[in-house]
Symmetry: C2
Subunit: 205 residues, 2 copies
Amino acid sequence: MTQKKKVGRPRSFDVDAALVAATHVFWEKGYDGASMKDLTEAMGINSPSLYSVFGDKKSLYIKAIERYLANDSCAPMDAFESEDNIEKAVRAFMEAVLEYATQQPEGLRGCFMANCVSTTVGTVGGTKELLQEAILSADERLAARFDVEKEKGHLPENFPSKERARLMFDLRQGLVLRARAGISRESMEADLDIRVCLILQTVAS
Amino acid sequence: MTQKKKVGRPRSFDVDAALVAATHVFWEKGYDGASMKDLTEAMGINSPSLYSVFGDKKSLYIKAIERYLANDSCAPMDAFESEDNIEKAVRAFMEAVLEYATQQPEGLRGCFMANCVSTTVGTVGGTKELLQEAILSADERLAARFDVEKEKGHLPENFPSKERARLMFDLRQGLVLRARAGISRESMEADLDIRVCLILQTVAS
DNA sequence: CACATTTAATAACGACTATTACATAACTGC
DNA sequence: GCAGTTATGTAATAGTCGTTATTAAATGTG
């Protein structure tokens, strides 16, 4: 299926690596801000190669997003799923969000999906669907972990997994925006403890 | 102070109205996506007039943001401050966010500050500061209302106004992103009641 | 070796980019 | 009405935009 055809001149660059390079350009400069020159230079190829392999700019953009969603692991999500204790897991998630948002290398535009892709849902067809898919997928992964904890008895039976998952994820967007505005990590750190409690607590129904 | 100088040919357009028009272009197309042609056409003026009054593109962008922050009232904030009952006020805030985020006219890129301006903090000098100012100002306005309720005795003495204000504002960003991804208003509406409770409740310290 | 096939590199395409010279028009003060 | 001042409209600048036609290079197969 994925075996290379033997005929013709072999490709001299790694398609996936080029796609990663393109993703970083879009991430750094945004869709409109990224020129084909920026892209070809970062990808290390000439424009005809780009067009023959990835299609036009919009098509390359879509492929870059799809590749990002399929392969790039989300640090906060990983932290949340790998920590045993649920309270520590929620805390680790928030910490990872802060780390991710404030220690962002150089000029990357915050979160690729939230800060870059979200701006093109009105102009580049297909991005809206990909963004929605990413959000709903994150909701589900977070809720799944809560469900597991409920089965283990670490969370009460009536714990609203899905609703708290969405709560957690929405809080994330606020932190990402604040980081983008240059608000210090320390000031955001100060709210984490209370937010962890809010997320995990069970109110009398 | 602000009186018009009498010498020379009088200006034939309203500077403020032109700035509003420019804001909408940036809001719709983003900073990079907005061309000077887009701007001059929407503003109803020729480029030399634009350059003489507003400076270059970046300068116009900054002025548009400043004007927006100074003059455009935020519907959710207004709803929050005008509603008497604090619980209804929080609810009204969230409802207004949903209304604002999902009923956004045509192609506006979500929230002007959160979805448009936030993307240029790395490339257009001054935008980061303005974005931060806007966020901190929102935090303060929300917290101020909570403080008033505490004085009235409608909220307990130990109610953490500032922290809940930030919580409220951060939740807003999540809703705005979801709306941008095309997630239905109804599904977001379903979480509002519980979130209002979370924001207003007082946990045992 | 020549052939078919695929990719690479050069260079160009017209359209559009942000910005500005220049000449003209409209006003105030004399 | 004339000088001084400011704004407007036309048109141009040099450069970059996304995209592609064309030619050369590199491979497997006959």
